[in-house]
Amino acid sequence: MPTDRSARRALRSRPAPRTILTVEGTREGDGELVARIRAGDEGAFLMLVGRYNASMQRLARTYVPNDAVAEEAVQDTWIGVVRGVDRFEGRSSFKTWLFRILVNRARTAGAREHRDLSLSDGEPAVDPSRFDSAGAWAQPLESWADADDRLVAATWSACLREALGELPPRQRQIVILRDMEGLPSDDVCDVLGISEGNQRVLLHRGRSRLRTMLESELAARGR
């Protein structure tokens, strides 16, 4: 039986599930963990929780007015996973199945709160004052070729999370599922129940805002 600390260390040393920068290691896939959960394996369950709980919490939070309600929706979802794991047939990826359950629960919880989740469309990708009257960049735009390593460094995590938290809820939903969790756009539309067109608009707005926030943060840090 591993100690709590060594288990946590093991969890931390695993590569992220899917990112563009990290290479898939030998870690167990979701499907294998699901099979172990069917057999009652607690460790497999905790690994899945470790993998997805934070994103689920973020996603749920976009539907409900506070962290506590979001936590309830997330916990409901995990109950649903444990109880419904025998019914999971693997027609979609586990991740898509999981987020679909979560969105249903969070939406039900959020419906009680009547949150306005507007598209916030019509907002430009870049502040219009950055362009001259002909629509060309008024000032040269910096290359970030050397900023990549810095952007992924640990000191940026807090900044990126904060930037994500500042996105309007519907933009945040898409960025979490597409860019953090790496779901394909079809699955994202399925999970959120939105059209391909809406998904693309929201993703565009979300990514544009994140870029702007990173740009000002890079400027503030003096590069």
Binding site: L11, A16, V49, V82, P124, A136, L164, M180, S208
Partner: protein, 88 residues
């Protein structure tokens, strides 16, 4: 050709198309116009690269570590859910 053709994109339009370009959502004609603009415009080339860097950075955020408290809580819950299932 020195005069800008009507079909040429300006930077302010390009930044609105960057995501559709990355998502492979542009028509072939728009894609050609987009790429033609990029070839002539280092700023928009940088903008596209900034957008890619932003997406890569978001992809590195996941996952957070579970705090010991959350871990303990879920361990308890898992045992409880399993036993309820077994009993019911």
């Amino acid at each position: 050709m020195l005069l800008r053709r009507r079909s040429d994109l300006v930077c302010q339009q390009v930044v609105e198309l960057v995501n559709d370009y990355l998502e492979d959502g542009l028509s072939r004609a728009d894609r050609r116009r987009f790429e033609a603009h990029l070839r002539a415009c280092p700023n928009c080339t940088n903008y596209l690269e900034q957008m890619r860097a932003t997406i890569r950075a978001m992809g590195t955020l996941h996952p957070d570590d579970l705090t010991p408290d959350v871990r303990d809580e879920f361990t308890q819950l898992f045992r409880q859910w399993r036993s309820e299932d077994g009993g019911g």
